[in-house]
């Protein structure tokens, strides 16, 4: 329990630092992401923080779907203007995912062929 709380505290502090950094340096990226990059840099130099973070991050990532329940429920309230575009949106999502996977698979085959 102590470890969970300590881990959360570290994550929150880094998030604040990221948001503060983005604000004061006027960067065009999300603050949480800067926090994540900062943590990535810290961890690549110093692994001693890792045992404090593993439990919290593991639980947060395992139940991340729970965190998305409220915002996803909001989709039912998007209104007629969006609902009318829904069939096309669905097609866009499916085709672009299909194309991206296909493109990547061919690209990887090529890259590997050249390396051999």
């Amino acid at each position: 329990m102590m470890k969970l709380a300590a881990g959360l505290l570290i994550l929150v502090l880094l998030q604040w630092l990221g948001q503060w950094g983005v604000q004061s340096l006027e960067l065009n990226i999300p603050g949480q992401l800067l926090g994540m990059i900062l943590l990535l840099i810290v961890l690549s130099f110093n692994k001693s923080l890792l045992p404090w973070l593993e439990a919290t991050s593991g639980q947060l990532i395992r139940f991340i779907a729970l965190l998305f329940v409220p915002i996803t429920t909001g989709a039912f309230f998007l209104g007629p203007e969006i609902f009318e575009q829904l069939p096309q949106i669905l097609i866009v999502l499916i085709i672009s995912t299909l194309l991206a996977q296909w493109f990547m698979a061919l690209l990887i085959n090529r890259l590997r062929g050249r390396d051999k």
């Binding site: 943590l39 729970l66 989709a75 493109f103």
Partner: protein
């Protein structure tokens, strides 16, 4: 700094009874999902959200009240985003000798996933707000959410789009891998991570640990790259 902290405290302190609705809905969904042997189309979000919507409808609860009442969950999305650094750093440490093809595949693949979606949105003549909401659909949800908040799309539409993308991705991937004769599980993992984010990564871990490791790598780095490039380049697509 003070403002940032106060803003977040407001989010947390607004938490109230609608949180119970979310927890109950999620618990039912999680149980059903596990009972079904984790069938993709019974993803917890697919079950929980309609359940909650119909409950809200029957007790006459509006979305603004419901959403504010779940403040603590919305607040936790921030730390959850930062937490993505942990699995990513574990994978980066054992970044293999395939560094160069990996970087090329990641960069071009991520770019292609986003560009193809944006161009299709334009092709179908969908509105700008839809374009802004779908721009980050291949990125893992917490990062995608912060990108869409930043560029001004509809976060709820993005959340659904991300879920559909992930589900479509894991359904189609098998056929794509067979047709292109891509048999190496590590590369399959990378594709799953880049195109189907967390849902794809979970699927990759079911194949093998190394497939999952590459998916984690693909998902994490694609998220970072998209978050850096997308906000700066959205102007090109909005008339």
């Amino acid at each position: 700094m003070r403002e940032i902290i106060l803003q977040q405290w407001q989010l947390i302190s607004a938490t109230s009874w609608p949180l119970l609705l979310t927890l109950a809905g999620f618990w039912i969904a999680w149980w059903t999902y596990n009972r079904s042997g984790r069938a993709s189309l019974l993803h917890p979000l697919m079950i929980a959200t309609p359940l909650i919507y119909f409950t809200m409808h029957s007790i006459d609860l509006d979305f603004a009240t419901y959403y504010a009442g779940n403040g603590i969950l919305n607040w936790l999305l921030g730390p959850a985003t930062v937490a993505l650094a942990i699995p990513l750093s574990q994978q980066l440490r054992q970044l293999p000798a395939m560094f160069k093809p990996l970087t090329v595949a990641l960069l071009l693949g991520g770019l292609f996933a986003t560009l193809s979606a944006l161009l299709l949105v334009k092709l179908f003549g969908l509105s700008d707000v839809v374009l802004l909401s779908l721009a980050a659909k291949s990125v893992t949800s917490p990062i995608a959410l912060s990108i869409v908040e930043k560029i001004g799309g509809l976060t709820s539409l993005l959340a659904v789009a991300t879920m559909i993308t992930g589900l479509a991705g894991i359904v189609m991937a098998k056929t794509i891998f067979r047709l292109t004769q891509l048999e190496d599980e590590r590369w399959q993992g990378l594709i799953l991570g880049v195109t189907a984010h967390a849902i794809g990564t979970a699927k990759a871990f079911e194949s093998s640990p190394s497939c999952g490791a590459f998916a984690t790598l693909g998902m994490g780095i694609n998220g970072i790259l998209t978050a850096i490039m997308l906000p700066a380049s959205m102007g090109l697509f909005i008339s």
